[in-house]
């Protein structure tokens, strides 16, 4: 019998004195092989947890940047099983960072909830973010996740108001604090009342908090760091991957392009401490 190791998300947040960095990328954008390389580069650039997005045909919570990344990945039919295989590969290569999948609810339903969480845990992933599965609908997912020792990461938004307490009380792993209304995507300005919102969230939960949606610059990371345990950056990184899309797929230029993305991400992560 194997001993169940500590969930890596819990391990990452065991020491709350350090601020943590969580980058998001879309699995299979531009290809699965390149995603593997970028994942390693992100950890080298200071990522504590990676959020790996499973592409979806109708990503309701995402802006144009991640929509297009999804479309690129869907061109080679990337699905949940590919993301799970990627996680297996990353773990086999010795990656110790937390690994969280991001999937819309329908692919998870079609895969089968019980099977999904069993396979998620077996692959070595630590949790999943399902942006269109609010607390009210998440009962069976949370039960399956608990059984397999992984987390369903809850989201809380500035519009959650009286729901903040309910969401905060049941949050495990970390609580994803949506920093701006609307869909994902880099923004030049963040909401003025964001720190009040983050304060209310922290008062309502014992779970670590991670803030994301619209964060794209080192300045924004620096501003938000004191108000959460972690900062999530997605679209800004996906935009860089899009920009180097051709080089990333050219064997002669791929490593250079990965290095450039790594440097970009390092600027963001180093703004945390």
């Amino acid at each position: 019998m194997t001993t169940i190791h500590q969930n890596r998300i819990d391990h990452v947040f065991a020491d709350r004195s350090r601020k943590r960095f969580i980058p998001f990328i879309t699995v299979g954008d531009p290809t699965l092989e390149v995603t593997y390389k970028i994942a390693h580069a992100l950890v080298e650039a200071g990522a504590d947890i990676l959020e790996l997005g499973i592409p979806y045909s109708d990503p309701l919570a995402d802006g144009p940047t991640i929509q297009q990344a999804s479309q690129r990945a869907l061109k080679h039919g990337v699905a949940i099983k590919d993301a799970l295989q990627l996680v297996v590969k990353l773990r086999a290569s010795g990656m110790e960072a937390g690994l969280v999948l991001f999937s819309y609810v329908n692919p998870v339903f079609q895969y089968g909830i019980e099977r999904f969480f069993a396979d998620l845990a077996a692959s070595g992933a630590d949790g999943v973010v399902i942006p269109d599965l609010p607390v009210e609908e998440s009962g069976s997912a949370i039960a399956a996740a608990k059984k397999h020792g992984v987390h369903v990461i809850s989201l809380v938004a500035p519009t959650s108001q009286t729901r903040i307490r309910m969401i905060g009380e049941q949050a495990t792993g970390f609580l994803y604090c949506v920093s701006s209304l609307g869909v994902t995507g880099a923004r030049t300005e963040l909401r003025g009342d964001l720190t009040d919102f983050l304060k209310r969230v922290r008062e309502s939960t014992t779970a670590p908090t991670a803030v994301g949606f619209g964060i794209s610059t080192p300045e924004q990371v620096r501003t938000l760091a004191p108000h959460a345990d972690a900062v999530i950056v997605g679209s800004a990184i996906v935009r860089e991957i899009e920009r180097y899309g051709e080089q990333l797929q050219d064997p002669n230029q791929c490593d250079d392009a990965v290095e450039k993305i790594k440097n970009f991400v390092h600027q963001l992560s180093s703004a945390l401490q």
């Binding site: 045909s57 009210e136 729901r163 949506v178 869909v183």
Partner: protein, 410 residues
């Protein structure tokens, strides 16, 4: 109202479920807005003032009740059941869509929202929303797929003329599904000040329930009209189904009448054995689209598949969750009609009754063409003629000139 209220308490339940279908599968950002909407709607529907204001608009502005027309020459041509047409095409703006848009528009105003947004496929719900916005003094933005903008340019112009802005949806198949995605994304970003007027019995709770409540006037009128005319209920009622609001509106008041067969008609496009159709209930399986668990056209990985129909209003890979429930419960049966069959129905109705039906409604007529000849002359069949076909004449002209050599007959 009392009988309907009793039934409404059963489906959907307090979680917005019709059996296993429905629910609220939306980003957290929208959850509070849905709760507020639910409360506001429940208060409004119990408020005699709200009901009075809506009834006034429905009678004095929209022109309700719409007639129930005996289709004498169509009946003769088909040689079977007596056919009656519920004339939603005579509703102001030319389709049933206004019933719901007026209800939601009034509710938006009551909730203090200054702007409304809407998605549209054929453009009928967009036009209805633009009309209501003008009438009630609200600003209005309509999301419409680029492909539909091309197919329905006249309706785009209408919306502009009515003072609304039409925003093209350029993602995916550029049709109704993508317009709905864009509308939801916009709503998430502007949820504090914007009311999203969903045009069908789709979306997260309370929309499927609320839209049914605003559309059930179709069936209520039909039920009393046919009883007044014939002293009896119909044997069968047929309605087309895209998202399914005219069908739910028509069927709901007949659900308890076990002698009345209810038949929904989906779009089979080029045929349900091809990959170009919109026959969600016939060919799909349960999944989540636009916030609701319902039958869905999807691949093995749960990616939503693109639908196809000559009719923009039926060109949708999902369906209202209550239809999924009614299909599984067996209370309503569902058929599928191809583009070609719908075109034949358009021509037959034009030539026998002097009515140009919307391509959507022509699917219901086409199903009646199959059913009526097998029924006896003392049986009664009602077709919900959900909209008029003026918006479709160019599409029909194109399609007929393509099939000219086939000699499409009336």
């Amino acid at each position: 109202m009392s009988e309907a209220q009793t039934t409404a308490r059963v489906v959907p339940d307090e979680k917005g479920r019709f059996g296993e279908f429905g629910g609220k599968f939306v980003p957290e950002t929208l959850m509070n807005a849905l709760t507020e909407l639910e409360q506001a709607f429940e208060e409004a529907r119990r408020d005699p003032e709200f009901r009075k204001e809506l009834n006034n608009l429905l009678t004095e502005y929209a022109g309700r009740p719409t007639p129930l027309t005996y289709a004498e020459r169509l009946t003769e041509a088909l040689g079977g059941a007596r056919i009656y047409l519920k004339r939603e095409d005579l509703n102001h703006t030319g389709a049933h869509k206004l019933n719901n848009a007026l209800g939601q528009g009034l509710l938006a105003k009551r909730m203090g929202k200054k702007s409304i947004i809407a998605e549209t496929g054929a453009g009928q719900h967009g036009v209805a929303s633009a009309t209501v916005a003008a009438k009630l003094g609200l600003s209005c933005q309509v999301f419409m797929g680029e492909e539909d903008i091309r197919r329905q340019s006249l309706n785009v112009f209408r919306m502009n003329l009515l003072g609304s802005e039409v925003i093209p949806a350029v993602s995916g198949s550029r049709t109704l599904k993508d317009a709905t995605n864009e509308a939801i994304r916009h709503w998430v970003s502007h949820v504090d000040e914007t009311f999203y007027v969903i045009g069908s019995v789709v979306g997260p709770h309370p929309y499927p329930y609320m839209v049914r409540e605003f559309q059930k006037i179709i069936g209520e009128e039909t039920r009393s009209q046919i009883q007044e005319m014939l002293g009896r209920l119909p044997d069968e009622v047929i309605a087309c189904v895209g998202g399914g609001s005219n069908a739910i509106g028509m069927f709901y008041p007949f659900l308890q009448d076990e002698s009345v067969a209810l038949r929904g008609v989906e779009a089979a496009g080029l045929g349900i054995d091809t990959d170009k159709h919109a026959a969600t209930l016939s060919m799909g399986r349960p999944g989540v689209i636009h916030g609701s668990l319902t039958y869905l056209l999807q691949d093995e990985n749960g990616q939503v598949q693109e639908a196809h129909s000559i009719s923009a209003g039926l060109d949708y890979p999902g369906i209202g969750p209550e239809h999924s429930y009614l299909k599984d419960s067996g209370r309503v049966t569902y058929a599928a009609i191809t583009d070609a069959e719908a075109l034949e129905a358009v021509q037959l109705l034009c030539k026998t009754e002097g009515i140009i039906p919307a391509l959507e409604s022509a699917h219901a007529v086409a199903e009646a063409m199959k059913r009526a000849p097998h029924m006896s002359p003392d049986q009664v069949l009602v077709i919900c003629l959900s909209g008029r076909g003026d918006k479709d004449v160019l599409t029909i002209q194109d399609a007929l000139s393509d099939t000219q050599e086939g000699g499409v007959q009336a």
